[in-house]
């Protein structure tokens, strides 16, 4: 059974139909890439899945339960976490805190317990710290050691992208939605990101849905590729199938060029 399933999901803003009758399945342990030209509705799909927007119609099912209509924090606690295309770290918190804060959904200590430092609060704090350190260790030496106690704004751009992924991992999610994880990276960093996504699936056991523009990355990571245009799915299948699909070429290069070819 699919881990995540979008059934005939639509969403419009004003008169603009941004996502139109979209069906999408992501199986357990899969890496699925969503591609499409700018404005195709890719990020909106992420916003719909994570509950930032509600779908106008259709249903989003995660682990067999409907999640559309739930509050974003509930959806995240159920097991879907995302990164943002325009990075949204908590810049004035330290690197470690950025990861620790994302465990809010599966810790329980109340404010009173924390105030009085009751056992549960102390135990959870220890666990959370350990978990955060583990998640950061996933990125090798990149986010280790002295960087833990530095504010997030002091990180380089690539490290911020990594930290966003670490933060999403710390929510305890099984499904990660990565919104252009390699955007703005140089070729070396892009390559590292490709490897990292593979490692996330193989070692981390995560299922991954990723939006990406860099076709090298898409080729390197995807089990399956879904192409969107104007909020409609225009192609689906392996990377090669989608990349050679005439409708995809048309969407990217414009109608005339596709005809003359």
């Amino acid at each position: 059974m699919a881990l995540l399933e979008l059934r005939d999901v639509s969403r419009a803003f004003g008169g603009l139909q941004v996502v139109n009758g979209l069906d999408l399945e992501v199986g357990e342990g899969e890496v699925v890439s969503v591609i499409g030209p700018n404005g195709a509705g890719k990020t909106t799909v992420f916003n719909l899945i994570t509950g930032i927007f509600r779908p106008d119609s259709g249903e989003i099912v995660f682990e067999g339960n409907t999640v559309s209509g739930l509050a974003p924090h509930t959806i995240t606690t159920r097991g879907i976490a995302r990164t943002f295309q325009t990075l949204r770290l908590f810049l004035n918190m330290t690197v470690l805190e950025n990861v620790m804060v994302a465990t809010y959904g599966h810790t329980r200590a109340s404010i009173v317990e924390s105030m009085l430092q009751l056992p549960r609060s102390r135990r959870e704090d220890k666990e959370v710290r350990k978990l955060a350190e583990e998640k950061l260790a996933f990125f090798g030496q990149r986010l280790m050691g002295y960087r833990w106690d530095q504010p997030a704004y002091s990180l380089s751009y690539a490290n911020r992208r990594r930290l966003e992924i670490a933060r999403a991992m710390a929510t305890g999610a099984r499904l990660l939605l990565l919104d252009e994880p390699a955007a703005g990276m140089n070729p070396v960093e892009t390559h590292e990101m490709t490897e990292l996504i593979g490692k996330l699936r193989d070692d981390g056991g995560y299922t991954i849905l990723v939006i990406e523009h860099d076709m090298h990355v898409v080729e390197g990571i995807s089990d399956r590729v879904v192409a969107l245009d104007y909020g409609v799915k225009i192609a689906e299948g392996s990377f090669d199938e989608v990349a050679t699909n005439p409708r995809v070429e048309e969407a990217y290069l414009g109608l005339r060029k596709a005809q003359t070819k």
Partner: protein
């Protein structure tokens, strides 16, 4: 004790003269609130800044009007005719407060354009308390009177058996509508108005298109503050009495009006102003404890508006970009 009869009477207005009385005073009050609300809504539209000091600019306007009147020889022995005196008061107060508004912007808000959102708000709070207490220091806590009766004489016109309206009320409503019409024309039809709209839509883009954004913002503050000053002078003329702490409550109501109408929307501010004025007047006339707690009813209206339609009557809902 109130019996059921009086209950019915007070909730189903059969007393037409009370009804029309409150209607006219609500419209008068509303036109003043609308003028204040316009300043809030313009500044908010362009800077996304809540200018707490706006109410105090209104107060300063009322005082400038008062001092101009004194300078002209006082209400009884005015050097010029009453209506001309009023015109001079308006002009001086509007220009003076316009300059004050521009000064406030340069001094307290301009350096904070790119600061965290909370910084200009606190700065605005500082300006407000500064102006209010400066007024207290210079002019004292006592009430000052415009003595409108001596200045122009008050005539009351009857239309039908129950409808009364005074020349001052007519003047206030008409003058504020004229000012609003002028503003609407300014924003909709002039080059400056176009620049204002462009700046409020996207400041950076406007700057890149060659609009001198700082100048546009200064101009916005000038116009907004001048309208508030006009409101202040009107208040003085209608209610006679002004005092150094009058800006706070009036500012709150003006803001409420702007919000109820939909902040950022100019017709919304006008509509909101009249709505708040009418609410206050009818609450005073009809609701229990009304004369004391009219402001509480206005507050309730504000809350209700937020719950029902957070973007206001004429505002457009904002889509957050993720």
């Amino acid at each position: 004790m109130r019996g059921p009869h009086s209950f019915v009477r007070s909730y189903f207005p059969v007393n037409w003269s009370l009804f029309f009385g409150e209607l006219v005073s609500g419209l008068t009050l509303g036109s003043i609130y609308a003028l204040i609300a316009l300043g809030y809504t313009m500044v908010y539209g362009i800077l996304k800044l809540l200018n707490f000091a706006h109410g105090d600019v209104y107060m300063v306007g009322a005082f400038i009007g008062f001092f101009v009147l004194q300078w002209l020889g006082g209400p009884l022995t005015t050097a010029v005719t009453g209506w001309l005196a009023i015109a001079i008061m308006f002009v001086v107060a509007m220009v003076g407060c316009g300059a004050l508004g521009v000064g406030i912007e340069i001094f307290a808000y301009r350096p904070l354009r790119n600061a965290p959102r909370i910084a200009p708000l606190i700065s605005a709070l500082g300006v407000s308390i500064f102006l209010q207490n400066s007024a207290l220091l210079l002019w004292g806590p006592q009430f000052r009177s415009y003595d409108t009766f001596d200045l122009i004489g008050v005539k009351s016109y009857h239309i039908g058996p129950n409808f009364f309206i005074s020349n001052i009320q007519i003047f206030t409503i008409a003058a504020s509508i004229a000012l609003m019409a002028a503003l609407t024309w300014l924003v909709a039809r002039t080059r400056t108005g176009k620049a204002m709209r462009a700046t409020s839509f996207d400041r950076e883009a406007a700057e890149m298109m060659g609009i001198r954004v700082d100048r546009v913002i200064s101009f916005t503050f000038f116009v907004g503050s001048a309208l508030a000053a006009a409101g202040g002078v009107m208040f003085g003329i209608v209610f006679g009495q002004i005092f150094s702490l009058m800006g706070f409550t009036a500012g709150l109501k003006g803001f409420t009006a702007a919000v109820v109408g939909g902040i950022g929307s100019i017709p919304g501010a006008m509509l909101g102003g009249f709505l708040i004025g009418l609410t206050e007047a009818f609450a005073t006339g009809y609701l229990p404890g009304g004369s004391t707690y009219a402001n509480l009813y206005v507050f309730a209206l504000l809350i209700a508006m937020f719950l029902v339609r957070p973007s206001g009557l004429l505002g457009s809902p904002v889509i957050q970009k993720v």
